[in-house]
Point group: C2
Chain length 129, copies 2
């Protein structure tokens, strides 16, 4: 695995572990001010860290995931951008919720990586439209 892939996956897992304990700040702290965001509850794409913070503050302390499995993470990187994709299984009260996830990270001028795009969706949300 490339050095960039290792860095990106480690950042994502660290944020996920905080998320699973009700703390959305792990993701907020590594999201760019111009981040764009989709999840299966939003009516439209959410633009900007301020709007994402507002969304996440509403669920702070409300989401607890007992364990998760990140399946087959892949990082496609070029220059200062890296695309992380993976499937995720979240275990909550003996139920498993399955996710598709795409994160786009960008390396800032201070060499730190920040998320500029997040897309969460439910795996197999429909069998047929």
């Amino acid at each position: 695995m490339s050095e960039i892939a290792e860095i990106i996956i480690k950042m994502e897992i660290t944020a996920l572990e905080r998320w699973n304990n009700g703390d959305p700040s792990g993701f907020l702290e590594i999201s760019d001010k111009d981040v764009v965001y989709f999840d299966p509850m939003t009516e439209l794409r959410i633009d900007g860290l301020e709007s994402l913070t507002e969304l996440y503050e509403n669920i702070r302390g409300k989401i607890f995931v007992e364990k998760h499995k990140m399946l087959n993470p892949k990082v496609q990187s070029l220059d200062r951008m890296a695309v992380l994709t993976y499937n995720l299984e979240s275990y909550v009260e003996n139920k498993v919720v399955k996710w598709n996830c795409t994160e786009v990270y960008q390396r800032q001028s201070d060499e730190k990586w920040k998320i500029i795009q997040t897309h969460w969706s439910l795996t197999n949300a429909v069998k047929e439209l």
Copy 2:
């Protein structure tokens, strides 16, 4: 709008218009051989153009969208990568299906842009988990 944004959005609309007429080749022709792909029907991320072609050949000639509205397309670009996000309304038989879409395009050595990541999901697939 930047020149890159114009190019990317035009490519996407051209592929969408073919898609709406049952022809998935518009997307296949502009997807990289190492493309990764999510949609709400897949069980896991699909890796590679060969697997995506197999998926799309099964639905060739079966999907017809009467009209679509691409809402608020945004392109975040840096060097040789560009992230296109938008919401899409697809009108089929007096029904509207709403989508979230993230495409990551990469500029190849021949200066042509190719999709390296596609993520389709249904907007507002769940009100609450």
